[in-house]
């Protein structure tokens, strides 16, 4: 036994107990996340499994799970591809503008303005896309169908409501832009100042400086930003469910009134009325979506980790 006064021993004891309790509590919170995610993933697998083994005619479409989910997967990938094709160059441009071209005092305000786009709820974008943007694009779609109908994407006949795959892709692009912009800005800002000044001192114009120093430095960061944006576009539900006039099926025609659905939009539209094995089929399609977004996000993080320079 130590010969310290009793009160001090008690204080030390309660201190140790306090530390033990607190560290157990915070670790418990972390463990809870692990347990809940693991448990729920199990329930979900368990609920999705019956759709894989159910007889084909019970499932939506009546031809088995694969032919139920593949057209949806096609729509998901197509809409996300359009979104990224539009959003990536735009977002890189915006990030460059805010970081290197705008007045330094304005930069954070301009960045905040772009971030505001991310704050708009996706239902609001859906409402805007279906009621405002779509109808505005009808003349453009008609023109595209008339003059570029020989390209399969614009084969027409042009939709009369404008609620087409291309509109959905545009709305998705608007939602992806702030994500890719924010991450790209972060990367561009980290370009070593000395390298930038060295390029300028050698007589490079501002663009030559960006092309020879900033873009090579930020390339992997921009790639991973784009992948994270892709993850967002793949899983986005409401904007697509509200904007697209759906008919199912597989088509590359971007401007007609019949469009393939996406996994997420299909769940949102069908789940409220679904019963029995249809619920299982929708849950299974949700698992497919989860798996794909997981892989995309995982790859994005791998790229970041591999390319992060040691500090």
């Amino acid at each position: 036994m130590s010969d310290a006064p009793l009160s001090e021993q008690m204080a030390a004891g309660s201190r140790r107990r306090g530390d033990a309790v607190f560290s157990a509590v915070v670790a418990g919170a972390g463990l809870l996340i692990v347990a809940v995610l693991f448990g729920v993933a199990m329930f979900l697998l368990f609920q999705g499994a019956p759709a894989l083994t159910a007889s084909a005619k019970d499932l939506p479409g009546g031809e088995g799970f694969r032919s139920f989910v593949l057209p949806l997967l096609f729509g998901t990938v197509l809409s996300s591809a359009i979104a990224l094709l539009i959003a990536t160059p735009l977002a890189i441009g915006i990030a460059l503008f805010v970081t290197f071209y705008s007045h330094r005092r304005l930069a954070s305000t301009l960045g905040y303005v772009v971030d505001l786009l991310a704050a708009v709820p996706s239902v609001v974008f859906g409402l805007w896309g279906a009621n405002f943007l779509g109808p505005r694009l009808v003349p453009l779609y008609g023109w595209l169908a008339d003059h570029f109908g020989w390209i399969p994407f614009f084969a027409g006949p042009a939709s009369a409501t404008g609620r087409t795959m291309l509109t959905a892709g545009l709305v998705l692009a608007i939602m992806v832009v702030p994500i890719v912009t924010a991450l790209s800005r972060e990367v561009f800002r980290q370009t070593p100042l000395l390298q930038r000044e060295a390029a300028l001192a050698l007589g490079a114009t501002r663009w030559e400086m960006i092309r020879s120093v900033v873009l090579p430095f930020g390339r992997s960061g921009v790639v991973s930003a784009t992948m994270l944006g892709l993850g967002r576009a793949l899983g986005e539900t409401m904007a697509v469910a509200m904007v697209l006039s759906l008919s199912g099926g597989v088509t590359f025609n971007l401007i007609s009134a019949s469009n393939p659905s996406t996994i997420a939009a299909n769940i949102a539209l069908d789940f409220p009325e679904a019963t029995g094995i249809k619920v299982n089929a929708l849950i299974a399609s949700g698992l497919v979506l989860f798996f794909i977004t997981f892989v995309v996000n995982f790859l994005a993080r791998m790229i970041v980790q591999r390319s992060t320079p040691p500090r």
């Binding site: 919170a29 972390g30 996340i33 996706s122 979506l289």
Partner: protein
């Protein structure tokens, strides 16, 4: 950055020192740009009838190609490319403003039609056609969002504390990875998660408010964890070491020194996270359901929320559709106001409560 030269020379002096050829004066540039914008505006308003957004979209390429052409002719190729890229990135930024301004403008213009007292004080029970309101949805959104915060904030903050102050080893690595995974979960899948969980206890077809809160928590927890981590990491080590040197136990150091120092940042982050989940629709569609009645019981029956109300007002407007569409726009206005106010509060907190010294 490129604006001021590193060695501190006056940029004008640098310009004079350059030996390259002719240069366009700012006046020429403005003339070219002004002419192109005028042409774009005339085309958009008078010929193609596309309105202001069309004017921006048309004048952009016109200004860019005109300036680039002039620069190629008068100046050299390198300078022309530089001008071209400067204008392209500026144009990209202006393009991004169009949807932002347009969404806000449309929501305000259409939303004001039904943004009246009735809209805030009545629900949709028995309402067919005009009239009715979003009371039931507003009540549901407030209840479900509060429940979400009650679940997510303690778990999120405690996990963040664990990762920064205690975590090293396999458990903390796997939690970090899981939080990353959670960040990427599509919101509709979060809804399915909650549904699968509640299905076990309550049977198929379950709809209840608390399920919505659980689904939203799956989306909110990772945001709170990340914010907490980031804020705790910037609390100076000196503070912790000073507390340890005074013999303060670790847990009291964390609770009474570290967390208060990070409080402003964490609360701002929490409010931003709330603003993000308050607009979520898909998970609530799945597990909280759609109803016309005001339901204040989190644990029983369907509970309407603002985004779901907006969605169904748009999706199933009835005949004639206008009254329901007006309600949808008004709900969008209310939702946008909620999100903006929450973001504003977060910025105020971050600014007002921030520690005075870095």
């Amino acid at each position: 950055m490129a604006r001021t030269s590193a060695i501190g020379l006056d940029p004008r002096a640098v310009l004079l020192m350059r030996l390259s050829g002719a240069r366009m004066s700012p006046r020429t540039l403005w003339l070219i740009a002004g002419g192109a914008v005028a042409l774009g505006a005339v085309l958009s308003f008078a010929v193609l009838n596309l309105g202001p957004a069309g004017a921006i979209i048309l004048s952009g390429p016109l200004v860019i190609s005109a300036t680039w052409g002039a620069s190629r002719a008068i100046e050299d190729r390198r300078r022309a490319t530089d001008r071209l890229m400067t204008m392209l990135v500026t144009f990209a930024f202006l393009l991004a403003l169009i949807p932002l301004v347009s969404v806000m403008w449309q929501v305000i213009v259409h939303g004001l039609a039904r943004f009246d007292l009735t809209f805030f004080t009545s629900d949709m029970r028995g309402v067919i056609g005009a009239g009715g309101g979003m009371l039931h949805a507003l009540v549901g959104t407030i209840i479900i969002t509060t429940a979400t915060a009650v679940i997510s904030v303690p778990i999120g903050i405690l996990t963040g504390v664990y990762l920064v102050e205690y975590g090293h080893g396999p458990l903390s690595r796997s939690i970090t990875m899981l939080v990353d995974v959670m960040t990427g979960i599509p919101s509709i899948v979060a809804g399915l998660f909650a549904y699968a969980l509640f299905l076990i206890f309550f049977g198929p077809g379950v709809r209840m408010g608390i399920g919505g809160a659980v689904a939203l928590s799956i989306l909110m927890i990772p945001v709170v964890v990340r914010t907490t981590e980031e804020m705790l990491k910037i609390v100076p080590r000196d503070l912790r070491e000073a507390a340890f040197a005074l013999g303060v136990p670790k847990w009291r150091t964390v609770v009474q020194v570290v967390l208060p120092a990070a409080a402003a940042g964490i609360s701002a982050g929490v409010i931003v996270a709330i603003a993000r989940v308050i607009g979520e629709t898909a998970p609530l569609l799945i597990i909280a359901g759609n109803t016309t009645n005001t339901n204040t019981n989190l644990f029983s029956g369907r509970m309407e929320t603002l985004p779901v109300f907006l969605y169904y007002s748009f999706l199933q407007p009835g005949v004639p559709p206008q009254a329901s569409l007006d309600r949808a726009w008004a709900a969008a206005l209310a939702l946008m106001l909620l999100v903006m106010i929450l973001n504003l509060i977060a910025r105020l907190i971050a600014r007002l409560l921030a520690p005075k010294t870095a």
